[in-house]
């Protein structure tokens, strides 16, 4: 059997219609429908991605999402009552000492969120995989959120302390940790390659970081000296100008590294004994989609409040009120609040709809179309894995929308 190419079978217009419909329902139900909206949009995307012509299927349900959400609210109440209140009382006590350790404590609280964030990330992946099937066979993931959380914290710390030097290693090790615990039916995924294999891709990024460091060192050296000559000042201003070039380049090099590393690692994944993949999303294409999508979305949304105000004026005229320019230059508070609320709701719906149509949809299509599965004959050796007890662990993070790309 030859390699399986992947189709993306779906039209932008259909996605637009589904996103608009579910967005309207979400607003009409005061947000309650969003669990169904998310489920339905995922089912749509999953069924559009068709390796070898057969779509994936998303098995997650709105019911489990809403229950996970309720549990999250209960957990939040307990968390606030136990943790925040105690932290506040402690802060207040310490405050009587004089200085401001309160800022220290307040600053430390978000740090505690990091392990939780990484655990949530692992569990979101776990949740998504365990609710995805292809050809009637489920994906799955072994438990391992704690291990992922402390590794993530460690590698992130090293990366920040070394100004990015550990980034390629971190990317490889964390992705390997996730991949090696993933399954398709009875076949396990394996990440091949070398821990340092991503350094080549990070050369532009690291070189630019080095350039910034050099520029900063030069600027600091000259400016901290007691006197500066005119030539030195000219030199410093040229150096400072180079920041404007270096910083956007660093961002682009960083995005390039992310996409290229995903590409490189996908091509070194193995499923079972010998199934390989090719995955070639293009950085330039993804960047173009994103920039264009953000620009178009913001451009279209910028008209919302004026359209709402215009419609309100129209309604007022129909109801027999006299409307003149003072409605716009000196809007009565009642109208301003109504217009604000309506614009807010409309902006929310349209933001979701446009974002799906102009960013998520084209990105998903591009990525799907670059996926190739090699040696599909080896699928014959794979069977459905005994159903694990349906994990609910991922639901909490799912409910709070941590790391949910779609």
């Amino acid at each position: 059997m030859s390699a399986l190419k992947t189709d993306f079978a779906g039209e932008k217009g259909d996605m637009f219609a589904l996103a608009l419909k579910t967005g309207l329902l979400t607003v009409l139900t005061l947000g309650l429908y969003r669990f169904w909206a998310k489920t339905r949009l995922r089912r749509w995307y999953w069924s559009a991605v068709r390796p070898g012509g057969m779509g994936l299927e998303y098995l997650g349900t709105a019911h489990e999402k809403i229950m996970g959400f309720f549990v999250a609210i209960i957990a939040l109440a307990i968390y606030i009552a136990v943790f925040n209140l105690v932290a506040l009382e402690v802060t207040v006590e310490v405050m009587h000492g004089g200085i401001s350790p309160q800022t220290l404590i307040l600053a430390a609280i978000p740090l505690l969120g990091f392990p939780v964030f990484f655990m949530a990330r692992y569990r979101t992946r776990h949740y998504i995989l365990s609710r995805t099937t292809w050809l009637g066979v489920r994906f799955g993931m072994d438990p391992g959120a704690w291990g992922y959380a402390w590794r993530s914290c460690m590698y992130w710390l090293l990366t920040i302390l070394t100004l990015g030097l550990f980034w390629p290693l971190k990317t490889y090790q964390l992705e390997k940790y996730l991949t090696d615990r993933s399954w398709y039916g009875t076949a396990q995924f394996k990440q091949h390659g070398h821990p340092f294999m991503l350094y080549g891709l990070a050369v532009p990024f690291l070189a630019l970081i080095a350039a910034v460091l050099y520029v900063s060192y030069e600027v600091g050296r000259i400016m901290l000296a007691d006197t500066q000559t005119l030539e030195e000042l000219v030199y410093v201003s040229w150096l400072s100008l180079s920041y404007f070039l270096l910083v956007p380049l660093i961002i682009i090099a960083g995005i390039y590294f992310r996409v290229a590393s995903i590409r490189a690692m996908a091509c070194r994944k193995e499923l079972g004994d010998g199934m390989k993949f090719e995955f070639n999303p293009k950085t330039r294409k993804l960047l173009r989609i994103r920039f264009f999508g953000i620009w178009l979305t913001s451009f279209l949304l910028s008209f919302v409040s004026s359209i709402v105000l215009g419609l309100l004026a129209g309604v007022m005229i129909l109801l027999g009120y006299e409307v003149d320019a003072s409605l716009i230059y000196n809007t009565p508070p009642g109208i301003a609040i109504l217009a604000g609320l309506l614009s807010g709701l409309l902006t929310f719906i349209l933001w979701t709809v446009f974002w799906h149509a102009f960013v998520t949809f084209p990105s998903a299509r591009h990525m799907a179309e670059t996926l190739v599965i090699e040696e599909p004959a080896l699928l014959r050796g794979i069977r459905q894995k005994q159903e694990e007890r349906r994990s609910r662990t991922g639901l909490l993070s799912e409910a709070l929308d941590v790391g949910g790309a779609f």
Partner: protein, 378 residues
Amino acid sequence: MQESIRNPDFAAKLALAYGEMLDGIRPALQRVSMRLVGEGKHAELHMRNSQTQENYVWPVKKLRLIADQSRNDALVLAPKEGAAARLVIRDRHAAMELLKAVPRIPSLGRNPGAWPKIAVLGAMAAMSLAAILFVLVPHMANRSAEYIPPQAELALGDTAYQQFTAMMGATECKSDAGDAAVTRMAAAVTQGVDLHMPLRIHVVDHPMVNAFALPGGQVVLHSALINAAETPNEVAAVLAHEVGHVYHRHSTSATIRDLATFGVVGMVFGDYLGSSVMVGMTNSLITSSHSRAAETEADEFAHQQLTRGGLPPSALGDMFRRMQAEGSGQDLGVMRHFSSHPEMSARIEASEAAGLGSGAGPQVLNDAEWAALRAMCN
């Protein structure tokens, strides 16, 4: 073929069509022929793989439809809830015939049995949310209002003031003589009080009879309120009440409370309320919807300060009663508050009984100062 005679149409049309089946065990498509056997509730969908000679029987009443397919090019069915097997019918004709024979196939994942559980969890979540919003957040807001760094409180207050002026289209009024009158009045009502930060009083040009306090030691007086007052003492009484809010940091804790509340509510309802957050927050400050306890504290402060400054506390009541008689302004803030405070009226009557009528006695400003204050926004 015997049974299928009962569905002769369907049998005839389906006989030519094949479906693709996934058995939920192997990741492989099987080509199967399909026929519908039996009728009504007991009908069954029979499938046969002619290569392996294997037969599959799915009872029709348990069939589930896989909804939200990205492209309408196939009908995808599951044998029952929770099953991994799938039947994919790409032949449009066969799919339509099947849907005609079995008109109502529920979607997969529609599980009515889950609702009681959802309801119980939902009730618990609602109680937790109520506890967060009405117990935990107010408590934390009150506690942290006392310890918020002054710069943060100033920043909060400045933002709120800017939003107020932008939203209500109000402009700040300035005049040297008017400012001096305001300063004099402020000094009279803050005698012997140690405020946590300097008082800043804004007089703004606005046709609504209103006054309110903002974080960062700010009090806003509308020109309409000053014009509606008959004596300087009436304005001083309103000012004393608002300074009471500043003294007790009500606006700061209200802002912290609102921020936290909107944060929690935003999370619960999804992000889409976020954009209306600022509108609602500024609104709640302007209409100064403080709690009853907070209003009573501000009243007590005003009563104490006016008495200390030798001014009649009943001035506040006089002003309110006149506004009520004129039928204007009660809808907002400080005015609305009196209509719901019988104990205040009682106290006013008590002070009037003590011979402290507002018309009589010394005024906080002399005639020239009073005129300057009233002319500030002209």
